[in-house]
Each structure stands twice: as C-alpha cells, then as structure tokens.
Symmetry: C2
Subunit: 413 residues, 2 copies
C-alpha cells in the first residue's frame, strides 16, 4: 500500500459528493445541473472554495473549462491533468463526472497533506458541457481544448430556449469575473480520468477497479421530419402528411436494421419532440436524435451509413432532413498507462479487470493530444443518467487511491 493512501480521506470524499449534489438537486434525489447554468456556476464556486483552502491556483479559458493547479517543482514542464466534468443530464445522478473531479481533488489534497512535491504541475480540470443535453453535442470543453472542434462553431450552438453557448458563457464569466484567464488548449504531459462505469459489469462481478481499455465509437444524428398540420377528425389518412407516423416508421426500420443478437450495437432515440403536440392535431413536425455506438470501426461505419437512406426511404409522406453531428471512431488507451493502473490496484490487493468504455468521456479528446488513461469504479446495477445512480464509499475510496498513485507517478515524485 502506497504512503499516499494515508492521506486520502474517504469520508471527506463522500461528504463532498453530497455537498456538490445540493447544486441542482432534484426532489427525487438526483441532480439537474445543465452546462453553464446557475447551478453549475454555484457548484464551481464551491469547488474553488475547497481548492483555495489547499492553495490550488484557479483559472479558466475561452470555453469555461476550469483548471485548479498545484504547481510542480518544475512549473515549466507540461502538467499532468486529472479531472472530468460536473454538468449533468436533466435527471442525472450525483456521481457521473463528479466522481472524477472530486477524486482528483482528493488526490491533490492528499499530495499537499503528505508534503509530496511532484516535479510536474498537476491540474485538476472540470471540462465544460460533457453531457451535451443542454447544448449538443457534448464534450464541448475537451473537444475545444484538444482543437477537435472550432470555437466559433461551438459558440453558435443554441439550447432549447434559443440561448447560444456564447450567451451562456457571458453569464459564467460575469459570475466568475475575478477568475484568471488562460489561453484555450495546451500540451499536457498526460490526462487521467476516474469515472463510474455506467454499466453493470464491475458491479455484477464485485470488482472495484476497471482498467479502461478504450472507448467505443459513436455516431450521432439529428433527424427532422416535416409534414403538414391538420385536423385529427376531418383529414383522411390518404391526405395526411403525418410527421409522427413517418417518424414511427423510421424508428421501427432503424431498430430492425440495428437488431443485434450479440447485443453489442448501442442504438438509442433519446430525444423525440413533436410539434404542435396537441391531441387533436396531426403532427406537422418531429425532430429526433439517433445515438449509435459500436466498438468496431468498420461495423460503426457500415451501420451509421444506413441511417440517412432508411430515414429517406421511410418518409412516405413527409420531408426528411438528416444531419450527422458526431462521427468518433473507437479508440484504445496506451498499454503502459493501463499497466500502471493494474499495478496500483494489485499493490493494494484490489480486484481489477480490463473493461471497454461504452460511454463517451472527455478522455476521448485528450487521447488525441496526450497519453490518456481512465479508471472505472462500479456503479449499482449499471444504472446511470438516472437520479437513482449509486456507488459505495469503499469503491470511491479505492478508486481515489489508485488514481493518486497514477497521478503522482506521472507527475514525478
């Protein structure tokens, strides 16, 4: 067991999850903390308060990523980044993203308390808008940081109320006007992200540490079906341009096409918005999302390429508009970092296993610019993006200890 373990405080780590969950708390015990919202601004202020108490240096960039820096002995070396995000789904849980940030903070607090003086600086980072539910697509902050999306494009994205990212950022900046500004981007020495698995495997097998092998590929689409509004009682079926009926036909056809006996394909229509959405009016418009994921590059390409033709072939009476938002191929994290996680777990006698990530994470974009690793801890029944998301204090502590060893090793003790 490493010395740093004595300074990782499991009770403090747990209490901070509860404290952060008060920002955007929902009656059902979950969290509704949209990116760049008042609730997120308040949660960031809480994080900065904790960070200030141990002397971390806060700063932010053009996309409101938040950095909390522990300067190294050689502050000019590229830093090690550790973190995740604190925005949530509309009915999200307390741990998705938050665990990676608070476990990272716990590592820094332990390093400071232990009197360790790492060679490289270590920066705790909260990436902006990982979830993508307010502003689509997600992983906005890490994509901008890694130069994988243009800032101008991101700033123009609107939420459901018509607010742009640029507008929402102004509100964040106004609230954080004393915060130091830094240029967007950088060349970190490494990036490490701890996260709840968001799947059932570690929980099912009672294994506390997942050594993440990589992230499956993802393609997302936005489909708009445009028909004609009409009266439900009078307009004959043959005269209708019913956007809902065409959309139902499309979703059925996609479901049949993506049916997979091995249950590896992930196909989700999570958003489906009908206009005018009145019981006695034939719908004139439906907009829906398609989220398609697969760990194999060529399978993902082949399946995703069928989306547009299927939408068009099944729009029998309406017009179909299909936009592809994201095409991220599968990726694999470097073996040497995975080996470090394995060793850190083994040294503590913690059960561990290699596991692919079904979900996307900010680590995807960091992987393009620096050696990147992820550590998973179990989440109850794999339930996530849900107010009922749960983890155990013991797993949270175990993950933070492994994370601390990894971060310290990368920063140079």
């Amino acid at each position: 067991m490493a010395d740093i373990d004595h300074f990782i405080d499991g009770a403090r780590l747990w209490a901070r999850h509860e404290a952060l969950a008060t920002f955007g708390a929902t009656p059902a015990g979950g969290v509704d903390r949209p990116a760049l919202s008042r609730a997120e601004i308040d949660a960031r202020a809480q994080l900065m308060t904790w960070a200030a108490a141990i002397g971390l240096q806060p700063s932010t960039d053009d996309i409101a990523n938040l950095f909390l820096r522990l300067p190294g002995r050689d502050p000019d070396l590229p830093p090690v980044l550790v973190g995740s995000h604190i925005d949530s789904q509309p009915t999200g849980g307390k741990y998705d993203g938050v665990y990676g940030v608070l476990a990272g903070l716990e590592c820094l607090e332990a390093i400071v308390a232990a009197g360790a003086k790492p060679r490289r600086s270590i920066e705790l980072v909260c990436w902006t808008n990982e979830e993508g539910s307010r502003f689509a697509p997600g992983m906005m902050g890490s994509a901008a940081f890694a130069g994988k999306r243009r800032l101008e494009d991101i700033l123009a994205v609107r939420d459901a109320d018509g607010v742009t990212v640029a507008g929402a950022l102004r509100a964040v900046r106004a609230a954080e006007n004393a915060l130091a500004h830094r240029p967007l981007g950088g060349t970190p020495a490494a990036y490490v992200e701890a996260h709840i698995e968001q799947g059932p495997i570690l929980d099912m097998r009672s294994i506390p540490i997942g050594v993440v092998t990589g992230i499956q590929g993802k393609r997302t689409f936005r489909v708009r079906i445009v028909g004609e509004e009409n009266h439900a009682g009078t307009s004959p079926r043959s005269a209708r341009k019913d956007a809902l009926m065409d959309s139902v036909r499309i979703v059925s056809a996609l479901r049949d096409t993506f049916a997979d006996p091995d249950d590896i394909v992930r196909f989700t229509v999570g958003m489906f918005t009908v206009r005018p959405n009145a019981p006695s009016v034939v719908p004139s418009e439906v907009e829906f999302s398609i989220d398609l994921r697969h760990p194999d590059t060529s399978a993902l390409a082949r399946l995703g390429d069928q989306v547009a033709p299927i939408c068009k072939a099944n729009s029998l009476t309406c017009e179909a508009e299909i936009r592809e938002l994201i095409h991220d191929p599968p990726l694999e994290f470097p073996g040497p970092l995975r080996e470090k996680i394995r060793l850190a777990a083994a040294a503590r006698g913690l059960g561990h296993m290699e596991i692919p990530s079904g979900a996307g994470h900010d680590a995807r974009y960091l992987h393009y610019i620096c050696p990147t690793a992820m550590i998973f801890i179990p989440c109850w029944k794999g339930i996530s993006h849900n107010e009922n998301e749960r983890i155990t204090p013991a797993d949270a502590l175990a993950g933070a200890r492994v994370l601390a060893t990894l971060v310290l090793g990368l920063a140079g003790e």
Copy 2:
C-alpha cells in the same frame, strides 16, 4: 332573399375576424389562443365591447362560458342559443370556432338593426375550451352546461404547466369581475352553430353551405409507458426498459390494426411527449394521445376496444397505463332543423349539400339537451388546426345569412 340579408354586413364580419385574430396572433399569421389564457380574456373583452354597442346583456357561468343576450318579447321563454368558441389550437387559424361566434354576433346585430323583435331571447355564446389542447379533453364548457361532465372533475384538470382549470378560471374571473354571473346549465329552445368545415369537401365542390347531418363518434385515450432511464452508450438492449421503443411498437401496431382501405377510420397520435428527452439517455417515460373517430357506432366500439389490449401486448419491457378520456357515439341532428337550413340556402340560390362532421363540436353536447343544428361553410383545401386556415368573405357572408334566417325562425319573428 330574406329582408334580414340587407342588414348582414359582410365587410364588418370580415373585419371582425381580422380584429379578433390579433389576440394571440402568431408570426406565421395564425392564432395561439389557449382556453382561459390572457389572449382569450382579451378577445372576450373585445367581443363584449362589440356586444355592448348593440345592447346585448353579458353574463358568465361557473365554467366561464360567455353569454351575450338579446332579450325577446317574451323573455321567460327558453332562449335560442347561437355560437361556438374562440379558443384555438397552439398553431391554429383565424376561423375555427371564431366564425360561429362572429357570424352569430352579425345575426344579432342585423336583427337589432332591422328592428326585428323576436319572441324568444337569443343568446350568443362562447363555450369555454372547445379545443382541449391546453386542458384535455375539450368541449369542456358545453359538456358542463349540458350536464355531461361533472364540474368538480373538470376543475381539477391540469395543463402542461400544472395549472388547474380552477386556477385558470380564477384569473378569468378576476379580469372580468364586473360581469354578471348566472347558474351553470339551462334548457335552451334550440342551439345553432355555424363552423368552417375543416375538411375538403365543400371547397372541392365549390358549395358554400353544408347542412350538417351529424357528428362522427370519437374515442380518445391517454397512454403512459413507463420504463427506466439509462445511459445510451452503456446499457445493452437486452437490459433496457426503453419507453420510446415500446411506444413506437404500440403506435405501429395501432396503425396496422386501424388501417382502412375505405379511409373512413380517423386515427391520430397528436401528442407524444418523451422524458427526459435527452439524446444520450434511454427514455424512461412516454405519454401519448390516441384520437380515434368513426361515423358508425359499432365500428367505433369494436376498434376502440382494441386500444388497451394492443398497448399492453406491445409493451414488451415497460409498464403501460391506458386511460379512456372520451367515448362519444356518433350522433344525427334532427331532420326538421336540417330542412330549415336547406330552405334558407335554396331561397338565396346558394349551393348546399348534406355533410357529416368529422370534427367534434360543442353542438355535440347541446344536442343532448335541445334541438341542435350546424351549418358548415367551406375552408380552403380542408386545412384546419393550422395557421394557414383560410375562408372567403363571400362564403362567410352566405353562411351568416343562412344562420340569421334559421335563428330568427327559431326565435319566432
């Protein structure tokens, strides 16, 4: 041509449609005037201003139906009612409902101007919440007036924002605090409603007057499919309780079951609301409406009885809750009143034809308590419940003239 025709002012009738359309006007040229909303309150005030100028006596009842009374020579006799509604669909047109109210007002104005002294009182009425898009189901005011729905049940209905009918009524009463109150219900001598056809037949055949034979039967349902929220990237299909996929399967099965080569069945899913409605979250809940109509009593019963079994059989992973909101059998308006409409049209050389109503109307509920008739005028291409709803000034004038003859005849010249 009847003498009253000289006093029906087509230009005034047209101008009032334009004036009333300013209350809740949409940028696309339609109307968004929900029941019991500020826009409807303001439109009612405008109506009362016009009515006051010709001496009509305003009053309202417990459900905010608005009455504008022209006293008869024998004011104790049951009155003749004429009217319709002025609430609209969220993206409705200028004529649905409004035409029946303004044509009725034009009749009363013509009767006053002509110096006619009818034996019975004539009451112009605006029924509350015919559309049912804010508070479901619709025809709330006429159903309460006819004693077909209990006031207590109606008052508890909530809109999408959680506002109850009772609460919305308080706002109307506060705005109309000088308005006389009358008991709910009554026993009219007759009820006459003019309306746009909302179907293509009169327009297609260039016939200005439809003698409405009756109203097709209607059954409406609200279906709630409850599954489990989960992460789109991680949860395998086999472990999902995907409320959207089950709902799509249900709607497909209903569509196939209700497929009708004769195109007489009217089957519509107009409302379909997904929660949490986020692209990367497996939907936990869908609520959707079913609107099913047929002119034949037994066919309607047989088709509607399949709704619940189909919903349950196709909820493969979720729970299905089905509530039937309305079961209104088809109805036929009395022959003698239809004959009067025919004669009034023929006397003016106006083309006319018998026509069933595909849409429901307040006349449905009045039919249960007094002799009831409806007059249709054409609407362009049958397009209704749509901002692009259109009629012609000539048809509007023709309908008002026929209506005036009918109303005067029923009131006793």
